[in-house]
């Protein structure tokens, strides 16, 4: 599929701010699943851009606005081609060898440790999570292929909580979302990641976009979030726990990380009075012919 994505973020400040530094993780990735045809970012006030690739391989575009301002707009426009794939078309590793396959993958690439070891309020320890949930904690049967276990986990997540618009704050804790019985796509992704890590499977957070024709959450379109787990023989496979779906060519990935904090689309620091301004985000995603 070919999509045109536009993503606008407006921040307004009651009093002027200055020396404003901003980092954006907004440019879609180019990887085996998708290719970026075009990508441009503009800001108001205008600024000079620089970029680098962060630790997780995300492209970061950054800029600063030194002079006083009380409004900051960033606009991304990008065209992306996604590839149709069959997520099951890979040479599976026998269940008895899967954990060894993962251990070897981690040994070869030590940064992969992060996706197993990382714990935070967003992706807590299994123990902390188990205390919060009322249903049985999912188990991974050693004789079962890991992909099957992960698919069961995918179906299990929506039993823990339901989708509630705006029910949790961005970067809130997963345990509090579970206790409240409702969350947004980030919480669904974090819950999936937390359980997968407790099984020693590398799992990471993905921020991106989902075709509004597929999305069932039906509200105003914004960024979406899902999880990726490292599957022996296959590599990273995307799991959208919000929709109980494996990701496909209706998904456009932007940034990955250990949790949503690493993959935040916009991060800034300024001088001036902060009053907890919330950004106004508008996203459109149109299929191109």
């Amino acid at each position: 599929m070919r999509y045109l994505i536009e993503h606008e973020t407006v921040l307004e400040y009651p009093r002027t701010v200055r020396e404003h530094h901003i980092e954006l993780r907004l440019a879609p990735r180019t990887d085996g699943h998708q290719q970026v045809i075009s990508c441009s970012i503009e800001t108001e006030p205008s600024a000079e851009f620089a970029s680098y690739q962060d630790y997780f391989g995300n492209r970061v575009d950054y800029f600063c606005i030194i002079q006083p301002h009380n409004r900051l707009v960033t606009r991304l426009k990008s065209e992306v081609e996604t590839l149709k794939e069959n997520p099951f078309s890979f040479e599976p590793v026998p269940p008895s060898g899967e954990h060894e396959w993962l251990r070897e993958a981690i040994r070869r690439a030590p940064p992969m440790n992060d996706f197993v070891l990382h714990r935070s309020l967003l992706t807590p320890s299994a123990m902390k999570l188990a205390e919060a949930i009322t249903c049985a904690f999912p188990r991974q049967d050693k004789d079962q292929p890991l992909l099957e276990s992960l698919l069961e986990l995918l179906a299990w997540v929506p039993k823990v909580f339901e989708y509630r618009t705006g029910s949790t704050e961005v970067h809130g804790s997963l345990v509090s979302a579970v206790r409240q019985g409702g969350g947004v796509c980030q919480d669904f992704a974090h819950l999936f990641i937390t359980v997968a890590r407790s099984w020693s499977i590398p799992a990471r957070y993905v921020m991106g976009y989902l075709d509004p024709g597929i999305s069932q959450v039906g509200e105003k379109l914004a960024t979406h979030a899902w999880a990726e787990a490292l599957v022996p023989g296959a590599g990273w496979i995307g799991f959208d726990a919000t929709h109980n779906l494996l990701t496909n060519d209706h998904y456009v990935a932007v940034a990955v990380g250990r949790d949503s904090y690493d993959a935040a689309p916009q991060r800034g620091s300024f001088k001036g009075e902060s009053s907890g301004e919330q950004p106004a985000v508008t996203v459109t995603m149109q299929e191109q012919q």
Partner: protein, 481 residues
């Protein structure tokens, strides 16, 4: 950088730096001993008084926290009887520290690069990936010439046999060097005749060594090296030192709010406009250095400075991310780190250390808590530790729970008896325990300043030397060949 002992229940006698036995001084102390005997206590009293006046006049102070919110400024406690290190002893310390600092810098370059040491199974990945001070934000950035720790302060103690052991590496913003110099200034004034007789090596050139190392890092070349000492401000316990070093080096002393980054260039805001900054000697922790990438609530740092550093437009000293190499949980692996990168045996050994992530070690420590020091890995200055000998059953139980909850966060060491030295205390010469922090500058090459800060536990029997916990200090004389 702390150690404890069990007064009154000593299995072995601590090493005495000054005396060979009850009646005889060691050879290198004889000259001083003869003088003290000849002039008597009243002369010492006069010298002690003189040194006290000089410290007050110079305004040499430090700040103690905990007693009140704001901290209390105190006159630096100085003991007039110098600690003497022979040329032969110094050769070992110097070569051992050079070896250690070289290996630790190679280690940092590897951690923030290929991570061969993890791939080769020499250190467990959990150690790094669960370490609070492994900074993912700087992975892939290579600082000039691969040097991370331009300034190190390494704590050395002496065990019962007189062997020098490394107690702790301080690779972030080690402090105390100003007191090393002030101690020397005072000592030269009150015992001037001994400096030639003893052929004491100089330490006063430290600021010029540091300045040369900083200048050499300027991205615009040494001809254009505008240097700033970045301080967290007047409430920091080391603020005296920040002003001292800035003045001695002739560089600007500034806080984060005095600087701004514009399109990857760092500037100091001056009365005549923005002035480019080439080198930042920062005395604030990574956490507070850049609110854009580290702690977003920090108002002490400079937003955008990490991106300016990545772009190669500014040097930051010590390099961000250095803290993972002096993490106390990494410390037990330093001998292996030296072997791995240099193919050499460590010249200076570690204090034996138990790792709380290891179940056998942990059980042993829990069974012997009264004889152990347990330390939180990311604390320093004598905070976050259990001193076994003086602990209560309740505090031991509390620490046991803390260790079990987060074993990666703790290490334990058997109590080591720090060596002792004579000190002039209220009219008497008395033995007190001490350690040594030499300073290592990594510029063109690695240089260890011959001397250091000798810290003394002023309370009788105490082995806690931190100035924040009631420690004092001595001038440290390293003798020329």
């Amino acid at each position: 950088m702390n150690n404890v002992g069990i007064p009154g229940s000593k299995p072995r006698t601590p090493y005495h730096e000054f005396y060979a036995d009850d009646f005889t001084p060691r050879d290198h102390y004889r000259l001083l001993w003869d003088h003290i005997k000849a002039t008597g206590n009243s002369a010492l009293e006069a010298k002690a008084h003189e040194s006290q006046l000089a410290l007050q006049a110079e305004g040499v102070t430090f700040t103690v926290y905990g007693e009140s919110e704001e901290g209390i400024e105190r006159i630096w406690p100085f003991d007039l009887i110098p600690r003497i290190i022979t040329a032969a002893e110094w050769v070992k310390i110097e070569s051992g520290l050079k070896q250690r600092v070289r290996a630790l810098n190679l280690f940092l370059g590897d951690l923030y690069g290929e991570q061969r040491i993890i791939k080769d199974g020499v250190i467990p990945p959990e150690l790094i990936y669960q370490g609070r001070d492994f900074r993912r934000e700087i992975v892939g950035i290579v600082p000039p010439r691969g040097i991370y720790t331009h300034v190190s302060g390494i704590d050395i103690i002496r065990d019962e046999k007189g062997e020098f052991l490394i107690l702790e590496d301080n690779l972030r913003t080690p402090s105390g060097v100003s007191y090393m110099i002030e101690n020397r200034v005072i000592e030269r004034r009150i015992l001037p005749e001994f400096f030639n007789k003893y052929r004491v090596r100089r330490v006063e050139h430290y600021p010029s060594l540091l300045l040369a190392a900083l200048r050499a890092l300027s991205p615009r070349g040494t001809a254009h090296a505008d240097i700033v000492l970045l301080t967290p401000g007047i409430y920091n316990s080391a603020y005296f030192e920040h002003t001292f070093l800035a003045k001695e080096m002739g560089v600007e002393l500034a806080e984060g709010r005095d600087m701004v980054v514009v399109n990857d260039i760092v500037y100091l805001k001056t009365t005549t406009g923005l002035q480019r900054v080439d080198v930042i000697y920062r005395r604030i922790d990574d956490d507070f250095l850049d609110p854009l990438v580290f702690r977003s609530d920090s108002s002490l740092g400079i937003a955008g400075v990490i991106n300016a550093w990545r772009a190669g437009n500014v040097a930051i000293v010590n390099a961000p991310g250095s803290g993972i190499a002096d993490d106390k949980a990494v410390y037990p692996y330093v001998p292996d780190i030296i072997r791995y990168y240099l193919g050499q045996e460590p010249i200076l050994n570690n204090v034996p250390t138990f790792q709380m992530t290891n179940e056998t070690d942990r059980e042993y420590v829990f069974d012997n808590m009264e004889r152990m020091v347990i330390k939180a890995v990311s604390e320093s200055g004598g905070y976050g530790m259990l001193m076994g000998p003086s602990s209560t059953p309740a505090s031991r139980k509390e620490f046991m729970a803390l260790v079990q909850e987060n074993p990666r966060n703790y290490i334990a060491q058997p109590v080591v008896y720090l060596s002792r030295h004579v000190c002039y205390m209220d009219g008497e010469l008395e033995a007190r325990h001490l350690d040594l922090r030499p300073y290592v500058i990594y510029g063109e090459d690695i240089e260890v300043v011959p001397g250091g800060l000798t810290r003394v536990a002023l309370r009788k029997g105490s082995l806690v030397v931190n100035s924040s916990q009631g420690g004092g200090s001595k001038d440290t004389w390293v003798l020329a060949e």
